[in-house]
Amino acid sequence: VPTLQTMETTDALTTVPAESAATNSAQPGARPTEPTRNQPAPRRVRLRHAFAFNRIGAVYVLLGIVIVFSIWVPDTFPTFSTFKQVLNANAITALAALAITIPLAARVFDLSFAYTMTLTGVIAAHFLSVGMSLLPAVGLGLAAGVVIGIVNAIVVVVMRIDSFIGTLATGSLIQALITMATSGNAIVSTRLQGGFAKIGQTNVGGFTLPVLYVLIVAVGIWFLLEHTATGRRLYATGFNPDAAKLAGVRVDRLRFMSLVVSGSLAGATGLVLTATIGSGDPTSGTSYLLPAFAAAFLGATQLKHGRFNAGGTLIAVLLLGTGTTGLALASAPQWSSDMFVGVVLIASLAVTGIQRRATVDAPGRVRLLLARLRPSGG
């Protein structure tokens, strides 16, 4: 039945909703509804889709959190200062989460990104401390990120080692390299306090520059994933690499490049982190490993129905950051923050599960309905 095929394979924005299509098809003697691929959905349907709970559930949860904390701590939470604090405090986490969004879209893990962050920061701090000028030192740090991305890509794509294990191994090697080079000592110098510090500490209207970097990177990833053929191919690679390969997608090349991009972005994030803390700390990046993955996976439940995407990642970072900041402002006990993150993650994934089951079940239910209404032997 054309209608059912259409429903299963096209985006909800350009098709008749499943239930109305089913109703039309179910009329005795009625012809199946013509495919509506080229007809734009009514504005009301598009708005309903855009603001559907199962699409942006985290935004509603975020709004609920804002309301709860505004009532709970009315003096400090519902202020512009809180908004600035949430953005400033979570900008690095957002950058780290965005760095792994592209490889995750291609179903590739990059567990080494946190160590890459540390390494590039330590490299830039080292060269700055020995007298190198700003641009070459930053350039060397960025180059290290690219090189690590290439190494990761060789390990995962060329050597065919599972990305989870492969990047865990390269991460361990990177940490060993850092410890070997620094003996575990942070690299400090007054030279890190000048122009380099401005990369992370410049304040514009109460917002630090890393917030701006987040916006730039997020827009870039959004454009890549949503508005280019490469983005579509990345998602295809992530969902079903074999099918994508049969469809002519150069899966290996995309995975290779996704890891290079991830290494580069993680490297840049490490430079921003080092500029923010003012020293080449040999362990600075590792604390971002779990928060970044939590944000990326939570973000995948938002906006794009299970696809890793930039907007969802930002929503996730904001949700987690707002909750933890609100709890801190409310002087909540020390365990509340971890509990909040855990509950939010499970609940968000549960919402996604409900949504997915609903999506998957809808065509099946329509078929069942048609079968029941169809004359016997028909």
């Binding site: 405090a89 410890t179 003996s183 000592n185 020293s279 365990w335 509340s336 971890d338 939010v344």
Partner: protein, 386 residues
């Protein structure tokens, strides 16, 4: 209609899950905040006034504390020949600074004609137990370590005692008893750190301090420090305020945000005292600046090169660093006395209040409080002429 679930019903279910998040979060936090450990301790929340402050006493303590220690805390010479050829194992906690301690211990052991090796752990009980078993197999005569707990190595203690392997420790909360022969940087000894910091805060604020103490509960050795600070501050300034928050290990990376949040909700707080500076203040100056809280001054215990740089830049007010060099030599000294048959004295670590004005120029690395500590230890070991 058994086979059809209306869309509204699905949305209601999803909304129910979301509501659950909010309720669990709110109830959990609400329950805790009424009687939890992080909502602060006693102490006034007002800024206080100079009327109740003994500024002269505070300034005297600061002046004394800022004098760089000239002598190690081990004054008594060993007085007997220290046997050579001993094997010492340093059991490392796994973090980078412990690796450096291994090098210091090796240098001290070498000066006594001993051999030294380091066994790394990741801090987990199983890895620590494995390290002790390795040390036993290596034929160690003595073990040097930090923050060892008797309960953690209970199964190894009989073997250690049977083989007469002794442990020289630092920052342990357990009393000294075989196989342990020495423990320095004890909780009691460390309270002097808070005396220095309280005096610095009272003197700097001219008796108008309202301090937030930031504790890490996972480090049991730190437990008395917050109350000690509160007590010393009260002695020097009865009108100064005090409160504390706890930061769990899992939240260390978010410590600057937690501190900023507390300061925003308690705007009268003008000083922050960090129980372990190097664990809590990475990125804190930038976070304070971004939140418009640069006037809040930060002091703390411990610290590494990053923290020293913060002090040198004026981004933090003062630190009492941990003198790894003297402490490691003291632990080796205890072994030397034990092997020589001399009673082991429980000596404290040297302490030094460091501010922008007296920060050593070579603060890009850890530095010893006592500049010629090696020479002084060689002298008490009877090796000065070597």
């Amino acid at each position: 209609m058994l086979f059809l679930t209306p869309a509204r019903s699905r949305i209601r279910r999803a909304a129910g899950v979301a509501a659950g998040i909010l309720m669990v979060g709110a109830v959990a936090a609400g329950c805790g905040s009424s009687g939890g450990s992080s909502s602060g301790s006693s102490g006034g929340s007002s800024g206080g006034s100079s009327s109740g402050a003994n500024l002269t006493a505070a300034q005297q303590v600061v002046a004394q504390a800022m004098q760089r220690p000239a002598a190690i805390t081990v004054a008594q010479p060993v007085g007997k020949a220290i046997p050579s050829g001993k094997r010492v194992v340093f059991i490392s906690c796994g973090v980078s600074v412990c690796q450096q301690q291994g090098q210091i211990v090796a240098k001290a052991a070498s000066a006594l004609g001993w051999t030294a090796s380091t066994i790394s752990t990741d801090g987990t009980p199983t890895s620590v137990q494995a390290a002790y078993q390795s040390a036993i197999r290596q034929g160690a005569d003595g073990i040097v370590t930090t923050a060892a707990l008797r309960a953690e190595i209970a199964s190894q203690i009989p073997t250690l005692n049977a083989k007469k392997i002794v442990i020289s420790d630092a920052s342990s909360t357990d009393p000294v008893a075989a196989p342990f022969i020495y423990n320095t940087s004890t909780a009691t000894q460390n309270t002097r750190i808070e005396k220095y910091l309280a005096a610095e805060v009272v003197a700097d604020s001219k008796g108008k301090a309202n301090t937030l103490y930031v504790n890490i509960p996972a480090f049991a050795i730190l437990k008395p420090l917050g109350p000690a600070y509160q007590q010393y501050q009260k002695q020097l300034c009865s009108s100064c305020g005090y409160a504390s928050i706890d930061v769990p290990l899992t939240q260390l990376a978010k410590a600057p945000n937690l501190i900023v949040s507390y300061l925003r909700s308690h705007p009268s707080v003008n000083y922050v005292n960090l129980s372990v500076a190097n664990e809590l203040d990475t990125g804190l100056p930038a976070a304070l600046a971004a939140a418009g809280l640069s006037k809040v001054k930060v002091v703390g215990q411990g610290g590494g090169p990053t923290d020293f740089q913060y002090v040198a830049n004026g981004q933090e007010l003062a630190l009492v660093p941990y003198d790894y060099y003297s402490v490691d030599y003291q632990m080796v000294d205890a072994l030397a006395r034990h092997f020589a048959g001399v009673p082991v004295q429980q000596t404290p670590p040297p302490l030094w209040l460091v501010t922008k004005d007296n920060m050593p120029s070579d603060h890009a690395n850890l530095f010893p409080d006592v500049t010629n500590y090696e020479t002084q230890f060689m002298k008490v070991w009877g090796k000065a002429s070597a």
